[in-house]
Symmetry: D2
Subunit: 322 residues, 4 copies
């Protein structure tokens, strides 16, 4: 018997990746998909390469009209999740891929590689933001080990354009984005407080951080380059990370700076470290697929945990290369 799965926001990039993963998940049966602009279409009209699910009709999203589901993945624009998701049956587990429920009462923060037990016990999980997923993967072992000054953290992150969502409009047009890089949201990005709260919980102290996101000309991928003050050596950091993530299936601690391409299409996160104790400088790096570990694949991992099945079910495929 398979779990009945629904996806709302299916025609966006995050929802589409959730669909891809759920369609190939051996314990999931996708029985409900919903969207806005695409409502009324068959899935195959939106996803010409989809397999057996192609005949499913995309529903107009209406939380009151949900069928019985074991788990619902929600990938809605910021600000559009709170009201409708509050009306979903308490018996349906929810993973909110969007940003409305992170560190909100009643919701568990879905940092699956760090807090699997908490997630396993939850009915409502708020998936981490894409930047947070990368950043926290790199910094969690250092924060947990009190190896860095929590007030010294700087995160310089580079993201592919799919993170901006599909309705991007002119600003994200190919001709403008190609052959360009820029920073945005300086000192005020919405994921900075999210990272701060998560790091404070992990490190049991009050973190403060500077976060600068950048848009680079690629479709998928986030690289987070993090800087913090600390006396540890490179070897100390690597050892701490290997211990912290021992047995966690999706975190790879590597000796050289990771490439985002290593993770394309997967739930993997690659972390690495370089330190200069003479300057008390630690560099922590993490590379992910922003739609994978940064969105839909982490969401599926969370759902697996919530449903009590092996957390890597449906997530073991190798990344696409090149």
């Amino acid at each position: 018997m398979k779990f009945k799965v629904g996806i709302v926001g299916v025609s966006g990039y995050g929802g589409g990746e959730a669909l891809r993963l759920c369609a190939g998940h051996p314990s999931f049966e996708v029985t409900y998909v919903a969207g806005e602009s695409s409502a009324g279409q068959k899935l195959i009209d939106r996803f010409p390469g989809i397999g057996a699910l192609g005949g499913l009709t995309i529903q107009k999203w209406d939380a009151a009209a949900l069928p019985e589901l074991d788990v619902l993945f929600a990938s809605l624009p910021t600000g559009e999740s709170k009201e409708p998701l509050a009306r979903v049956s308490a018996k349906t587990k929810i993973v909110d891929i969007g940003g409305d429920h992170r560190f909100v009462d009643g919701w568990t923060y879905g940092l699956a590689d760090v807090w699997p037990e908490k997630i396993a016990a939850a009915m409502r999980v708020a998936n981490p933001g894409c930047y947070s997923a990368a950043t926290l993967a790199a910094l969690a072992p250092l924060a947990a080990g009190k190896m860095i000054d929590p007030n010294s953290i700087i995160i310089d992150a580079k993201s592919g354009v799919s993170g901006a969502g599909r309705g991007g409009g002119g600003t994200f047009g190919f001709a403008d984005v190609n052959e360009d890089v820029c920073a945005y949201g300086l000192l005020k990005h919405a994921q900075a407080p999210e990272m701060t709260k998560a790091l404070s919980q992990i490190g049991a102290g009050q973190a403060a951080l500077t976060f600068t996101p950048h848009l680079i000309p690629m479709t998928r991928g986030i690289l987070a380059t993090c800087y913090a003050r600390g006396k540890a050596t490179t070897a100390d950091c690597l050892a701490a990370a290997r211990k912290f993530y021992a047995g966690r299936p999706f975190v790879r601690v590597v000796d050289a700076p990771p490439h985002t391409k290593w993770a394309t299409g997967s739930n993997l996160v690659f972390v690495s470290y370089a330190a200069d104790p003479s300057r008390e400088m630690i560099i922590a790096l993490a590379a992910i697929d922003n739609l994978g570990k940064g969105a839909a694949a982490q969401a599926v991992q969370n759902a697996n945990l919530m449903l009590g099945i092996e957390e890597s079910t449906g997530l073991i495929g190798s990344p696409l290369w090149p």
Copy 2:
């Protein structure tokens, strides 16, 4: 004394390239720029890298409120040129970069490398479409020399995305366009009749052709790969093209298949040929920058001709590489 120049549609890709070229043109003084969405802004707010013209204010486009100009470049969306340009003073020369006046009475078709004398005598010039500019460059020598069966022509063209204009919306978003190629407008693209008419005039016969445009993941450039029936050898074709274009400053006849990157940012067009007489097959290739020879640079060449100055004035810069 410099010619007074105006540009309408300045904030689009074609208009912006016209601005770049006119700003560096030694005989032009840009005194008027107009747009729609950008009206009221200073040029420097729209083009942060612009030089001395930065303080110019973008006007709300209004043909009735034009200052006195020697030449006006119009780069407006299809369907929006006819009515307003009809109201421009007869003393102002116009180059319409848009598609509304090609093969329309009272307008000269601005195929500058083929018909410089006609253009030099004109007050109203319709710039060729970007696909036509490439295609005609490759086929004109063969058509003029009756070397190909005018009913056998197939044009398979590959364009960068800037050709779709700036207001492209989601369809031309980076994440969708990157790592993708598709054909569009099969058997019904607007530039097919334009090419047909031009070829018929050049070849003094009735051409019929099949034209398939493709969108490829790059910003600038068009490569037209043309196929036609004919008995000529490769050497015949190259010789015919070299003779046809003798003394023309912007056409380069080359022995190997040309790259679009050879033309980036310039008014150049590279043409080449390969033929298999045993199958009566001739392949004609042309590579251009779609915003250069395919739009703004050809427009400046046309304006130079109309104003009676050396046609390469302001257009001699080398292409950008890489």
Copy 3:
């Protein structure tokens, strides 16, 4: 019990994709991998995202030192397969992804969507070239139905750069390839005779064709735009293709021009048609992933057929989007 699988040329793009697919194949156990430059490394050093197979050591390729295998995938440079593969045990099935055995005696041409029975009976299968895989998918129904003049065929194909293989060197460097398109191999590409032979067999007549490959700035994907003379309508062509491919799991006949992105990472091929009977012109289009249907995924489909298991085993994952 799983089939024992080997891959030679594993560190190239084609071999790497074969590894990805075999690693996730439920009936395959990869027990042998070999390469040249990478020999001696662990798989995980070459493929940091690989899963359980990471500990496998890449062997120095030596046909004489092969372990017992049910099937061997060979992805070697042109000219380097014939001698070593001749020494492989007759009991080991071989799929040669490279170009040395296409239409060579003793080898079956692995056009899996057209000739599954022939392949199912073979011990030695030569995988089609990437361009041929796309072209033949589009043209096979028309050739089989005698709907096109076999002497009128023109194929204009656009390929991502991974088709050139990994050892590309400077010519395929990012800075040169990005923002560029060019044709190459005019009138003399190695896959033209291959397509000719296959089409002649399918159509039971003597085909002659013109093939022009192009390199475009993307990593994966081939779009073949094919032109031929014929009286059929668009509807006729679509109907013929739907009938020809009825029940074939990987061919999708679609009404609009297909995008290569629809196939990324999959074994799918999308074909479509547009015809103008008044000019007796038929356009046939096919979009594939050049490393999927164009190389490794088709190879796995061939292996499945040869091994007598369901041909779509291990190949049902949805394509990556965006």
Copy 4:
């Protein structure tokens, strides 16, 4: 009368850009070009879009066989400049675009926007590295104004691939670089000491810094995102930069985060700032074309200064957009 100019390393990316700029420079006459692999070719065989200089033959680089030149631009691989350039006539001014003479006795560091007078007096100028050019542009006003703790500086820079030079080989192949981002040279990049020395001189103190370069999938452009401790506000930083660069023609101080595309093909550098005094955090940003301000255009600016002509001669063209 024009200055006689030579370029050695002309077939690389930096040398090629120097050629493009010198070819269009109204006071320069390029009379000598040299290379290694390209020696013996005509310029037009290497640069198909070049104009009047196309007939010039690329010489085998030999410092002993130089003609009389007013200025020589050298763009040679690291380690290959010192010996040959020492043999160039003392009467020939040299701008070394390569890395061998930065902060070497007898050579002036060519930070043209900061030290024009020193450069104007020099016969030997070492052009700044591409990363240094961006970084120093952003930090110089803050260092000069003692607005930042010189020991707290972190530079996170993102570069297009042309910075790696043309002989990149497989690592910089399109299929590997596209859809990827990575950091490299952690805590040990050659340009870190260069930046340190320059900043120490500007700020009259001992700077120490952390520098992390990244490779992103674009051809041209560098964005340097710099972090440092300081109490200044955003407005303080912008005001300091505007004062520091008053009258300097190529530095644009802007209010919003700059895009590298704003500078493509030009000598411009865009700098901006964002500060959070409550955390004593200052972010300084600079965007350049790595081959422009980061190499060849800055070299031409330096040559102009050395030759006593207006420093913007030949450098006033607008950037390419899009």
